[in-house]
C-alpha cells in the first residue's frame, strides 16, 4: 500500500513540473458507423508534418503554433478527413471517420504510411483483426495467437500449441492483457485454441523487443488485446457456425452516441459429437469435452472529458474421461474469469489519465476416481489490481507517460486431496502464497531532431511476499525438517529494482530507419512445467522467500525500410537476450503433494540466453497482401542441477523458422489465403540407453533436450466467399431498378489445414514391447502426430 501512495505523490509532482507552451489540438477519433473509438489512427498537420497517433482509447494530443492549419485525420479502412482550422487557443476536435467504397488497400496504405519506420518502438507488430479473418484458420476457428505465431521471433510450443515463445523466452514470459487485465492461461482445449473470440476483439498489439516502461512484470513480450466497445448507433448481431464451435455477438447503444455494449459468446460442441460417437455400451461412454467463453463490455461517456469502460471475460474448459473397464474417470475443468473497470479522464488537452481496476481469476482442477480411490488437485491464481497511467503531451518534442500500478496476488499453486473409500489421506493444508506487486514508471519519447527520436524510460518495481505462510525448510527433499510459521501480514521477503528501458530511432532520407533498444525487466512469477508440451497442468508459482524473481535483459537493433513505393515494408532485427532465475522442476519431481513441503522446494534455478536475427518482408497494398518472416535463433538454458551444469538447448530452441503468409482478393466475392510454415524440430529428452533390473527394462535418458525431432512444415489454405451485399429493387415511386445494400451480410469460409498431409512430430517416445526372454522384445522410437489434413467450413453472418 505504501508503494501505491508513493507512486501517486510522484505522479502529482510530475504534473506540476511541466509547463504549457504551445497550443494543443486534442480529442477522440471515432468510427462514424459504429461510434467506436479508433486505436492507432493518425492525426497530422499536412504542411508541418507533425502529428500524433491515437492511444488505446482513441485519444490524441499534439501541439501546433497558432495560425491556420490543415489537419488530416486518417485510420485503417476508413476515408481520411481534412479540417481547416485557425488555431488561437487549445482546441478539442472529436472526429467521426466513415468508410466509402474506396479501395480498402489504398486507404490502408495512407493510414499506415511511415509509422513502421518512424516509431521508436522496435519489434512491435499490430495486427488488423479483419485481415486475420481472411487467413487460414485451424478447424475454421480464427485465432489471433495462431496468427501471432506466424510472425518472426514468435514460435509455437508444438503442433497446434497455444503457448507462444518470443525470442527464446518461455510462454510465461509474455504479458497477455485483455483490456488491461492479465490473462494467465490464454488457451482452450489443451492449447489448441486461444481464449480470444475474434468477434469480440478490436485490436491486437504485440511488443517483442524493447518493452516500454509502462509495461512490466514479464520478461519477453506484451500482447495487448483490446475488446470491441460495441456499436453506439444501432443494434447488430453477428455470429458464425463452424465445424466444432459456434459464436454469437450482440451489440448496440446503451444511449445513442453516449454509450454502448457488446456481448459475445462461443461454445464448442465436441461433447455432442462424442455423445453420438461413443455408444453407451462402450467403456469410454461419458468421455466428453467442451469449452465456452463469454465476453461483455460496456462503455459510457460521462461528459466530454470522462469515459468509463467495464469489460468482462469468463471461460471454462471441461474435460471428462471415463473408462469403465478400468473403473477409472478423470474430470478436468479449467478457465479464466477476468474483469476490468476503466475511467478515462482528460484533465486538459495535454494531459490524459486512464485509471483501471482489474481482476483476474484462473482456476485449474484435476480430479480422478479409480475404483474407490479419489484424487483431486487444484491450482489457481487470483489478482486484484489497480493502476493509473498518465499521458502528457507538453510539446511536439516530448510525449511523456508516467504512472503507477499495484496488484495483490493470491496464488494456490497446488492443493491436493485424496481419499480411499472412507479413509481421507493427510495431504497437508492448502498452501496459499500472497504477493504484493507494484511499480512506478516514467518515460519520455523525445524528438531530438527530425531524424533522431529517443524513448527513455525508467521503471521501479517491487514485490513483497507476505504471510500467512508455512515454510518447510529442507536440506533434503524426502525428510521433513523445521517449519517456519509466518502470520497474517508478516513481511517474509521483499524484492525490488530499477528497470531501465531505452530505444532510439534514426531516420534516413531513403524511407528507412535504424532502431536500437535496451530493456531490463523483472518478473515476479514463474511457470513450472513438468511436460514437454504446454498443458494446463503447468503450475504458476510466484516469487517467494526462496524463489527469486526472474530477471531479463534484451539488446536489439534493426534496420527498417519501405520498399517499392511503400507497397512493402522490410526489416532486419537482431537481438541478444539474457535471462536469470528461471525455474525447472528438479529431475523426477512431481508436483503432487503439499505434505510438509512447498512446491518451490522442488524447483531448481538457472539461466538462459537467446540470440537471433529476424527478417521480415510485408506486402501491405494491392490485392495480394501478406508477409515472409524468417528467424535464425539459438536458445540455451544453464541449470546447475541439470545436465551437470552444462548448457542445453531450450525445448523450443529453433535454428530456422520460416513463415510465408498471403491473402489474395480476387474480387468482391472471393478472397483466398495461404500460410506455409517451416521450423526446425523441437528438442526433447529421450532414453539413449537401456538396461535390465530384476527382469524389467529400465531406460537411461540422454542429456536434457539432446534429441531433436524432425523438422516441422505445413501448408494451410483458405477461401472466403462473400455473399452479395447488394440487391436490386424497384423504386415504387419511379418504377426504376435501384441497387440497395443488404442489411444481412454473410460469408462462407472454407479451409484446409495441412493440405499435403505432413505427419509433423508432436512428440516422440520410446516404446518397448514383447518379452526379453522369448526373443520378440523390441525397442522402438515412435513419433506421435496430431493433425492430418483437416478441412473445415464456417458460415459467418452479420446484420
Amino acid at each position: 500500500m505504501k508503494s501505491v501512495i508513493v507512486s501517486l505523490v510522484f505522479c502529482f509532482f510530475l504534473n506540476v513540473a511541466f509547463t504549457q507552451k504551445d497550443l494543443s489540438i486534442s480529442g477522440y477519433i471515432y468510427d462514424a458507423k459504429s461510434g467506436e473509438s479508433i486505436i492507432g489512427a493518425k492525426v497530422f498537420d499536412d504542411s508541418l508534418k507533425v502529428g500524433a497517433v491515437t492511444n488505446t482509447y482513441g485519444f490524441y494530443s499534439f501541439t501546433l503554433p497558432p495560425g491556420l492549419h490543415n489537419i488530416i485525420f486518417n485510420a485503417f479502412g476508413l476515408d481520411p478527413q481534412n479540417i481547416e482550422i485557425n488555431l488561437t487557443k487549445d482546441t478539442t476536435i472529436n472526429i467521426n471517420l466513415s468508410s466509402t467504397d474506396l479501395q480498402l488497400d489504398e486507404v490502408q496504405v495512407n493510414a499506415n504510411k511511415g509509422e513502421f519506420i518512424k516509431s521508436s518502438q522496435l519489434g512491435q507488430i499490430e495486427l488488423e483483426v479483419e485481415k486475420i479473418k481472411t487467413l487460414p484458420a485451424f478447424m475454421g476457428e480464427v485465432d489471433i495467437i495462431k496468427t501471432i505465431q506466424l510472425l518472426p521471433g514468435v514460435s509455437s510450443a508444438s503442433e497446434g500449441g497455444q503457448g507462444f515463445y518470443v525470442r527464446g523466452g518461455g510462454p510465461d514470459q509474455n504479458l497477455v492483457l485483455l483490456d488491461e487485465a492479465t490473462v494467465y492461461n490464454a488457451s482452450h482445449l489443451f492449447g489448441f485454441f486461444s481464449v480470444f473470440n475474434v468477434d469480440a476483439i478490436k485490436s491486437v498489439n504485440l511488443i517483442k523487443g524493447g518493452m516500454p516502461a509502462n509495461f512490466g512484470g514479464r520478461l519477453s513480450s506484451v500482447l495487448e488485446v483490446n475488446m470491441n466497445e460495441g456499436n453506439n448507433k444501432s443494434f447488430h448481431i453477428k455470429g458464425g457456425i463452424g465445424a466444432i464451435a459456434s459464436r454469437l455477438t450482440f451489440e448496440g447503444p446503451l444511449k445513442k452516441d453516449k454509450g454502448s455494449f457488446i456481448v459475445s459468446a462461443r461454445r464448442t460442441y465436441i461433447d455432442a459429437i462424442m455423445k453420438v460417437a461413443i455408444s453407451d455400451t462402450s467403456p469410454f461412454f461419458g468421455t466428453s469435452y467442451y469449452f465456452y467463453d463469454m465476453n461483455a463490455k460496456f462503455n459510457y461517456k460521462l461528459g466530454p472529458k470522462d469515459k468509463i469502460f467495464l469489460s468482462g471475460y469468463y471461460g471454462r474448459d471441461q474435460f471428462i474421461y471415463a473408462n469403465k473397464k478400468d473403473d477409472f474417470s478423470v474430470k478436468m475443468p479449467w478457465g479464466n474469469g477476468i474483469a476490468s473497470a476503466r475511467w478515462n479522464h482528460v484533465f486538459n488537452p495535454k494531459l490524459f489519465l486512464n485509471t483501471s481496476l482489474t481482476f483476474t481469476d484462473y482456476q485449474f482442477s484435476f480430479g480422478s476416481n479409480q475404483d474407490e480411490f479419489q484424487f483431486k488437485l487444484q491450482s489457481g491464481i487470483r489478482d486484484y489490481g489497480a493502476k493509473m497511467d498518465f499521458s502528457y503531451f507538453p510539446n511536439n518534442r516530448h510525449k511523456i507517460k508516467y504512472g503507477a500500478n499495484y496488484t495483490f496476488h493470491i496464488y494456490t499453486p497446488t492443493n491436493v486431496s485424496a481419499k480411499q473409500d472412507t479413509i481421507v489421506f493427510d495431504t497437508g493444508e492448502i498452501q496459499r502464497i500472497l504477493g504484493h506487486e507494484s511499480g512506478i514508471y516514467i518515460m519520455d519519447e523525445f524528438a531530438v531532431n527530425e531524424k533522431l527520436l529517443i524513448n527513455a524510460g525508467l521503471r521501479y518495481s517491487m514485490y513483497q511476499h507476505t504471510g500467512p505462510f508455512k515454510r518447510f525448510v529442507k536440506d533434503d527433499i524426502s525428510n521433513p525438517d523445521s517449519v517456519i510459521q509466518y502470520n497474517k501480514g508478516d513481511l517474509i521477503k521483499s524484492y525490488g529494482g530499477f528497470e531501465p528501458r531505452l530505444s532510439m530511432r534514426y531516420l534516413f532520407k531513403n524511407y528507412s530507419s535504424f532502431k536500437a533498444g535496451y530493456s531490463f525487466n523483472y518478473q515476479y512469477v514463474h511457470l513450472a512445467s513438468i511436460s514437454a508440451v504446454s498443458l494446463p497442468t503447468d503450475i504458476w508459482y510466484p516469487t517467494t522467500d526462496i524463489a527469486k524473481p526472474e530477471q531479463g535483459f534484451q539488446i536489439s537493433a534493426g534496420y527498417f525500410k519501405e520498399l517499392f513505393k511503400n507497397k512493402f515494408e522490410g526489416s532486419i532485427e537482431v537481438y541478444y537476450k539474457g535471462l536469470n532465475n528461471l525455474v525447472e522442476f528438479k529431475d523426477g519431481a512431481q508436483p503432487a503433494d503439499n505434505v510438509s513441503d512447498n512446491t518451490d522446494n522442488l524447483l531448481t534455478y538457472g539461466k538462459g540466453r537467446s540470440y537471433g536475427a529476424e527478417f521480415f518482408l510485408k506486402k501491405i497494398s494491392g490485392n495480394l497482401t501478406g508477409w515472409v518472416g524468417y528467424t535464425w535463433a539459438k536458445t540455451e538454458r544453464i541449470f546447475a542441477e541439470i545436465n551437470d551444469g552444462n548448457p542445453f538447448p531450450a525445448k523450443y530452441d529453433r535454428r530456422h523458422d520460416l513463415s510465408i503468409v498471403g491473402s489474395y482478393k480476387l474480387n468482391e466475392r472471393w478472397t483466398f489465403g495461404a500460410a506455409f510454415i517451416f521450423a526446425t524440430g523441437n528438442t526433447l529428452t529421450l532414453p539413449s540407453s537401456y538396461y535390465t533390473q530384476d527382469g524389467e527394462v529400465v531406460f537411461k535418458f540422454g542429456s536434457r533436450n539432446s534429441t531433436r525431432m524432425a523438422d516441422y512444415h505445413r501448408l494451410d489454405v483458405s477461401a472466403t466467399w462473400y455473399c452479395k451485399t447488394e440487391k436490386t429493387i424497384i423504386n415504387p415511386e419511379t418504377g426504376e431498378n435501384i441497387t440497395v445494400k443488404k442489411k444481412f451480410k454473410s460469408n462462407w469460409s472454407f479451409g484446409i489445414y495441412n493440405i499435403y498431409n505432413r505427419a509433423n512430430p508432436y512428440f516422440l517416445y520410446v516404446d518397448n514391447d514383447g518379452d526379453l526372454l522369448k526373443g520378440d522384445f523390441k525397442i522402438t522410437v515412435k513419433q506421435v502426430t496430431l493433425f492430418p489434413i483437416i478441412p473445415s467450413v464456417t458460415w459467418n453472418f452479420e446484420f
Binding site: 479409480q370 475404483d371 489421506f425 497442468t537 540407453s689 537411461k700 535418458f701 540422454g702 526373443g775 502426430t785
Partner: protein, 314 residues
Amino acid sequence: MKKIFYLVFILPVVFSCTKEVKIDIPDYEEQIVVDGNIETGQPPFVILSRSKDIYAPTDLNSFLNGFISGAEVYVNDGTTTYQLDEVCSDELPPGFESFAAEIFGVPESEVSNYHLCAYTKLDGSIVGEVGKTYTLTVNFEGKTYTAETKIVNPTPLDSTYFKLANNATDKGFSYAQLTDPPGFGDSYFWEAKRINKNSDGQEKDSYFTPTYAPVFDDQFINDITFEFYFENPVRDPDLPSEYRGYFKVGDTVVIKFSKLDKDVYEYMDSKYIQLQSGGSPFSTPTNVKSNIKGGALGVWAGFSPSYDTIVCQP
C-alpha cells in the same frame, strides 16, 4: 498417489496417430549395471550386466550376452568382508537349473547353453540380519564400484484379508491394515504370489511379483493406522482377461511386505515412476536413481520382509 498424476498425460493423445521413426539420440555410454540384494535370512546375491544403446539388437542372444562374468565381488557386514563366489549357469551342480532359469529368466533347458554368472555365498557364512549395514564392493576391468544398504527393522502388517470387487462374486483384491510407526522415513514394498496348486500339482506362482505401484513411503500416512488394497500383480497368461488384476475366490496368496532403507526406496520409487510413465514426454525424464558409487547403474538393496497369507474367500 503419483501414479494417478501420470494418467492426465495420456489424455491429449486422443486424436493422434503414431509411427516408428529412426532418429539420432545422442549421449550413449556403456555402463556397468549392478542388480544386487540381501534380505533377512538370505545370502547376498549380485548380478552384473552392461547397459546398451537404445538401438542395440534386442534378441535373446544379445540380451544374455549382456551379463558380466569375471568380476571380484565383496560384501562387508560391518565386521567381516566376504568375497562372493561366481556361480555360472554352465557349471551348475545338477538340480540348480530351475533356480538359475528363474534368476536370469532363461528357459530351464537353455541354462547350460550360456555362461550366465551371479555372485553369491551359498555356504551360509553370510546371511542378512536385521539392523546390519552391508557394504558391496565390485572390482571389474580396473574399476571399483561400491554401495551400502541396511536391513531396517520390519513393520509387519496388522492384518490382511480378501474382499470381493464391486458387483463381483468370484474375484477381488487383497486388503491390509498397517500401522505406520512414528517418525517419517518408513518405506514399504509389496509383492505377492499365489501358492494354491495348479492341476499339475505345482504352485500357481513360483516367485513373488511386485504390484503395479509396489512402493510407498509414509509422507501421507505417518503414524496412522489405515487400510489399503492391492491388485493381483501376476501377469498370468492362462487367466481370462476379465480376471486379470484380480485374485479368484479359492486362491491362497502370500504377501511379502518388505521395508526398505531410504536410498533403496528412492531407487524403487524412481524405477516404478519410469516404468509407469513409459517414456512419456508429458513427464519430466526420470532416470532411475542408483545407490552405487563409482559410475555404475543399478542398486544394492537390503530387504526386511514380513509375510502374511490370505485365503481368498468372501
